[in-house]
Amino acid sequence: MPYNEPSPLEVKVLTRRFGLADSASLDTYLATGGYEALKKALGMTPGEIIEEVKLSNLRGRGGAGFPAGTKWGFVPRDSARPKYVVANGDEGEPGTCKDRLLMEYDPHQLIEGMAIAGLAVGAHAGYIYVRGEFRYIIRILERAVEEARGRGYLGGNILGSGFGFEVYVQSGAGSYECGEESALLESLEGRRGVPRIRPPFPAVSGAFQSPTVLNNIETYSAVPAIIREGGAAFAALGTPRNGGTRLFCLSGHLNKPGVYELPMGFNLLRMIHEVGGGIPGGKRLKAVIPGGSSCPVLKAEECDIAMDFDSLAKAKSMLGSGGVVVMDEDTCMVQAARRIMEFYAHESCGWCVPCREGTNWLRRLLRRFHAGEGSRSDIDLIGDVARNILGRTFCPLGDAAAMPTIAFVEKFRDEFEAHLEGRPCPFEGRRREVPAP
C-alpha cells in the first residue's frame, strides 16, 4: 500500500506501478512494460542513448539539477579502468522522501535505468548506495537484483546481447553527508564518509579511482520511460529545459501530505491547495521550503511560482530534491531556522572549518535566540556567520546550511525581532499537532 492516496492531478510516469499488487516483483514489472527499454537500448549505440537522455531534458533529481545526459557524456569513452554506475539512495535531506518509495515499490525500474546507464557509458557494474536506516529496502532491492539476474536482465550476458551488467546493493553509513557524491564514494569504498577534493570529478575518477556516473535514484528511475517513449515525449511533460515529471514530497501543514508525481513546472500554490488538500484548520500560508531543507524559504507571496529548476533559481531558491515543506501562519520562523540548523550542525562531517564551527555556532545562537536570550546585534550576527560559511566550505553542505539561514533572517526579520528582550516565542502555544492523514 503506497504511502498516500494518489491525486487525480498526478501524471504517473515513474510512479505508475505504485499501488499495483506486488509492484516490486519482476512479474508485475514485466507485465507493465518492464525491461522493454533495456531491450530497446541494447539495439542502440551508447551515443544514441545519451542523445535520447539529453533530449529528454532530464535533470538530476538529487538536488543540483544537473542535466543527466550531459553528465553521462563526461565519462570518457576509452578508459583503461573499469567504469561504474552508482545510484544515490542515501536520501537524507529533511523534507525529501521519494527515493525510498521508488526503491520500495519499483526496484526494477531503478535497476533497468542503471543498466541502461551502464550501456551508455560502458560500465559493467552498478552500486545502489542505500541510506542505512532503510534496512528493509536493502532486502527488497537485493531480492529484485536476484530476480533480474535469474531471468537474464542482469548478469554476464544480458538477454543474450553479450552486454554484461551487475548490480550490488550497499548499505549507507548513517550520515547525511554520505549522500554528497564524493563522500558517498568514500563511504562506498569503506572509508569514513568525508568528501573528496574535486577535480577530478566522478565522471573521470569516481568509485575505485575509475570513471563513474553517479545519479539520484529518481534520475535513474526516469530513464526507462525516456528510452521507451522517447526523450522528446518525456521532455514535453515538463517546461523548457526541465523535462518530465518529478516526485514532489509534500509535507508540513497540509490536509493531504504525501508524495505526488507532477509535471515539472507545476504551480506551487496549486500544489498546496489542489494536490495537498490545502492547509488544515483554514489557516493561512506563511512560508514554503520548496525543495528540501537546504533550499531558501519562500514567503507566501512568493509561492505563485512554477516548480522547476530555473523558476526557483530566479526566485533565489532551489528546486532541490523535491521536498516541499509547507508552513502555516502559526509556525515560528526562528524555530524553523533553529530546527534546520540543529540538523546541519549534527550532520556536518566536521572536515572543514567554516561548516564544522559555523553550523555549531549558528545552532547555539539560534537556540539562545529562540529561548529569548538574543540581542538585536545577534540578528545580524546570524546572517553574518551564515555568509561566512557560504561559498567557502569544502563541500556544498556548508552552503546548504547557510542559504536557508540567510533567507530566514532576511525574509522574517520581524519574527526574529519579536523574540528580543527576553520575550517568549510569540508562537508558543499556537502550535497543535498536525492531524495524521
Binding site: G350, W351, N360, N388, G391, R392
Partner: protein
C-alpha cells in the same frame, strides 16, 4: 621536467612547472598564502580554508592549496574578499579554542597564534559556551588536548603517510570531531612524536617537554642525533643547561622534519642520576672517587711503565665518539703506545664493500639517493626498527615517486606493505634470496642496494658482482649501527687499517683477540662495553675505561674516566652513507670531559706529541681516491650488528627513561 606555465599572482608574473599548487607558486615570488592543513609532502586536505584566494573567472573563492597553477591564471591574494574570508576562518577556528596560550607549550611558536596575529580579527563575536573535553594521555610520550585541536589532520597524515604507522584517525563528526589513537584509549606506535611536532597548535604535546618552559626561554642547538647511524639533525631545546626537548621543526639536515623517538626524546640519559661525574680509581679492590689529576697521573704512569717495558696494550674505541677523537685514539695507540691492537664493535662490513667496489666512488649512495633513486633492494634489515630515517626516506620516495622497493628479510617488516616483491630468507640465505629477484631487478633503470650485517666478507663481493651483472647503475649502502660507526672505520679503529683504510704496517689483534689474550698488560676502552657479554682473559691487565656510565666494562676497570656525550661536545661524525656532519655542544655535565680532551691530557702527561686530528685530510683523500682495502682485511675481526630496535640504543638506551617507559616491546612492533 614538466612544462612551464605562466600565471599572475597579485599582479606579479610567475612561471612554474605545470601542476605546481598555487600556494607554492606564490612562494616563488615571495607571496605568503596562509595555511594550516597544507603541508609539503603530505596529501591535500582542503580542510582549513585558510588559503582561500580569488581566481579570475571563478565565482567563488578557491583554496590555493588544492589548485594547480595553469597557464594564464590570474590569482589575487589580498583583495578585501580574501582578507575578510581569512578573518572569518580564524574567527571560526577560535570559537571553540580554549585560548589558553599563556600556559600552552606551543605559545610563541604556534601557527594559530601567528596567523591570528597577522590575519585575524581583534575580537570574537562568539558568546556561546565552548565545547570542552578533558586532555588525554595516549602514551608515555603523547598527550592530546582536543579543545586546542584545529583538525588540520596533519598528525593523521604524517603518521599514516610519513611513518607508515596509521596510529591516528579522526572520530565523531561535526564539532565533536577529534583525533583518536589506534588502541581506543592509548597508542601503540613508533612513539616518534612526528605528530606532535607537525601539529600547528598545542593540541599534541610530549611528556618530555610539556609545561617545562617557554620556547623563547630556550637555547636551540642544532646537532646530530647520537643514536643510530642515520645522522639526523636534531634541534635540542636547552634551558638551564638541561636538554628539555628535541625536534626538527625547521626541517634542516638530511632528515627534514623527520626524527624517530630516539632523536626526539632519548636525550634524558644526559642528566641521568647514574651519570659518572668524577674519575674512579680502584683502591683495595673498590672503585673510589679521585680527582682528575690523580686519575690521569695514574693512567699516564701505568701506561708509561707498560710501554717502556714493551708490554702488551689493547685499545677498544667507540662508535659514538667523534672522528677527531677516533683519529686521535688510533694515533695514540699506534704511535704513543706502540701497539697495533686496536678495534671497535663493527656492525657492518664496510671494509669488504670498499674492497669489492675497487675504487668506484660513484657506487656509494648518499642519503638523498634514498628519496630519489627509482628502485631499492633491502637485504637483511628491519629498516623501520633499525634505520628509521632510511625507512622514512624510502617510504617518501615510494609515496611521491612510486619507486620500487624490494625486501629480503627474515621476518615481517614494515616495508612489506609497500614493497613490490618481498622474500623471506633464513639467516645465511639472504644473498641467495636476493639473487632470486634478478629478473625484476634487471628491469629497473637503476638500483640502490642496502645490506645489513648478514652480508659480510665474501658475500659482499658476491653481492657486488651480482649488482654489476644487472647491467644497471647500482649504488650501495652498508648498514651500520651507531652515530659514528662509519667514522670509527674511516678513522682506522681497526687492527689492519689506518685512517682512510690505508694498510697498517703491523696489523694487531682484533677485539676478540684482545679480550682473549691472557698476556694483555693493559686494556683501554673508550666508549664501549665489550665486557657486557664477554670475559677478559687477562685477569691482571690494567683496565682504563672512558664512559658515561658504570657499565659492565667500567665496573671491571682500574681507572674510570667520566666522559662527555655527543651532545656535550663538538667535532664531526659520519653517518651510514658516509656523510660527515658537525656536532654542536648543547650542554655540559660538570665533571665529565670530552674524550679528546682526556686523550690530550694523557698525551701531555706522557710527553707525547700526537699533533692535531687530521680528519679533514683523511676525508679529502678518500674523496679524491676511494680506498680499496685488501680483500683479506675484512676477515680480521667480527661483524655483528647489535640489533637495536626503535626502543633500544646499546648502552645509552639503558639510561633513556623514555625508551624504557613506552608500552611497546622493543622490536615488537609489526611482528
Amino acid at each position: 621536467m614538466s612544462k612551464l606555465v605562466r600565471l599572475e599572482i597579485d599582479g606579479k608574473p610567475v612561471e612554474v612547472p605545470a601542476g605546481t599548487l598555487v600556494i607554492n607558486a606564490a612562494k616563488t615570488v615571495g607571496i605568503e598564502i596562509p595555511a594550516f592543513c597544507y603541508y609539503d609532502g603530505l596529501t591535500l586536505q582542503g580542510a582549513c580554508r585558510m588559503c582561500l584566494v580569488e581566481v579570475e573567472k571563478s565565482p567563488k573563492l578557491v583554496t590555493a592549496c588544492t589548485l594547480a597553477a595553469a597557464e594564464g591564471m590570474v590569482v589575487r591574494t589580498q583583495t578585501p574578499q580574501v582578507v575578510q574570508a581569512r578573518k572569518a576562518m580564524l574567527e571560526f577556528l577560535l570559537t571553540n579554542h580554549p585560548l589558553d596560550c599563556p600556559v600552552c607549550d606551543k605559545g610563541g611558536e604556534c601557527e594559530l597564534q601567528d596567523l591570528t596575529f597577522r590575519y585575524g580579527l581583534g575580537e570574537s563575536r562568539f558568546l556561546e559556551t565552548k565545547v570542552h573535553v578533558p586532555e588525554k594521555q595516549w602514551s608515555a610520550v603523547v598527550y592530546y588536548d582536543a579543545p586546542r585541536c584545529i583538525l588540520c589532520y596533519r598528525c593523521v597524515r604524517i603518521c599514516k603517510e610519513g611513518m607508515g604507522v596509521s596510529a591516528l584517525a579522526v572520530v565523531s563528526r561535526a564539532v565533536d570531531s577529534e583525533i583518536a589513537p589506534n588502541m581506543g584509549d592509548h597508542l601503540y606506535c613508533d612513539e616518534c612524536g612526528m605528530c606532535i611536532d607537525i601539529c600547528p597548535v598545542g593540541a599534541l604535546t610530549s611528556q618530555d617537554y610539556r609545561y617545562q618552559t617557554r620556547p623563547w626561554e630556550m637555547k636551540h642547538v642544532g646537532t646530530i642525533c647520537t643514536h643510530c647511524a642515520d645522522g639526523c639533525t636534531t634541534t635540542l631545546g636547552v634551558y638551564n643547561n638541561r636538554v628539555i626537548r628535541g625536534n626538527n621543526h625547521d626541517r634542516t639536515g638530511l632528515n627534514g622534519e623527520f626524527l624517530c623517538v630516539k632523536g626526539r626524546y632519548a636525550h634524558d640519559f644526559i642528566a641521568h642520576s647514574e651519570r659518572l661525574k668524577c674519575p674512579l680509581m680502584r683502591v683495595d679492590g673498590k672503585l673510589v672517587e679521585v680527582s682528575w689529576s690523580q686519575a690521569l697521573a695514574e693512567v699516564a704512569a701505568r701506561f708509561g711503565g707498560i710501554r717502556s717495558r714493551g708490554g702488551k696494550f689493547g685499545v677498544i674505541g667507540s662508535t659514538r665518539t667523534t672522528n677527531e677523537e677516533n683519529w686521535y685514539l688510533q694515533k695514540f695507540a699506534r704511535e704513543g703506545l706502540g701497539t697495533g691492537n686496536i678495534d671497535h664493535h663493527r656492525s657492518g662490513d664496510v671494509i669488504s664493500l670498499l674492497s669489492a667496489l675497487k675504487g668506484r666512488a660513484d657506487a656509494l649512495a648518499a642519503t638523498s639517493d634514498l628519496y630519489e633513486r627509482k628502485a631499492a633492494l633491502v637485504i637483511g634489515s628491519d629498516l623501520a626498527q633499525q634505520h628509521p630515517l632510511v625507512a622514512f626516506q624510502l617510504r617518501a620516495n615510494w609515496r611521491h615517486h612510486e619507486s620500487h622497493i624490494y625486501t629480503v628479510t627474515r621476518g615481517p617488516v614494515r616495508e612489506d606493505a609497500y614493497s613490490r616483491l618481498r622474500v623471506r630468507a633464513e639467516a645465511g640465505r639472504e644473498l641467495a634470496a636476493a639473487k632470486s629477484l634478478r629478473q625484476a631487478l634487471q628491469a629497473e633503470p637503476e638500483l640502490l642496494i642496502l645490506f645489513g650485517d648478514c652480508v659480510r666478507g665474501a658475500a659482499v663481493h658476491e653481492l657486488v658482482e651480482f649488482g654489476d651483472s644487472l647491467g644497471i647503475p647500482v649504488r650501495y649502502i652498508c648498514l651500520v649501527d651507531y652515530v659514528n660507526s662509519r667514522g670509527a672505520m674511516d678513522m682506522g679503529l681497526t687492527p689492519g687499517l689506518l685512517p682512510g683504510y690505508q694498510p697498517a704496517a703491523a696489523p694487531g689483534l682484533d677485539l676478540a683477540g684482545m679480550l682473549a689474550a691472557a698476556d694483555l698488560d693493559a686494556l683501554w676502552v673508550v666508549g664501549a662495553n665489550p665486557l657486557k657479554n664477554a670475559a677478559l682473559a687477562a685477569e691482571r691487565a690494567f683496565v682504563v675505561v672512558q664512559d658515561l656510565f658504570l657499565t659492565e666494562t667500567a665496573a671491571r676497570a682500574d681507572i674510570v674516566l667520566p666522559a662527555a656525550c655527543a651532545y656535550e661536545k663538538t667535532g664531526t661524525v659520519t653517518n651510514v652513507c658516509g656523510e660527515v656532519q658537525r656536532l654542536s655542544r648543547a650542554v655540559t655535565t660538570m665533571g665529565a670531559k670530552p674524550d679528546l680532551e682526556i686523550f690530550r691530557s694523557l698525551a701531555a702527561r706522557m710527553g707525547l706529541d700526537l699533533g692535531e686530528p687530521e680528519t679533514d685530510r683523511v676525508y679529502a683523500e678518500m674523496r679524491r681516491q676511494l680506498p680499496v682495502p685488501a680483500a683479506g682485511e675484512a676477515a680480521r675481526g667480527v661483524v655483528a650488528s647489535a640489533g637495536d630496535t626503535l626502543f633500544t640504543s646499546g648502552t645509552l638506551g639503558r639510561y633513556c627513561g623514555v625508551l624504557r617507559n613506552v608500552r611497546e616491546a622493543p622490536g615488537g612492533l609489526y611482528q
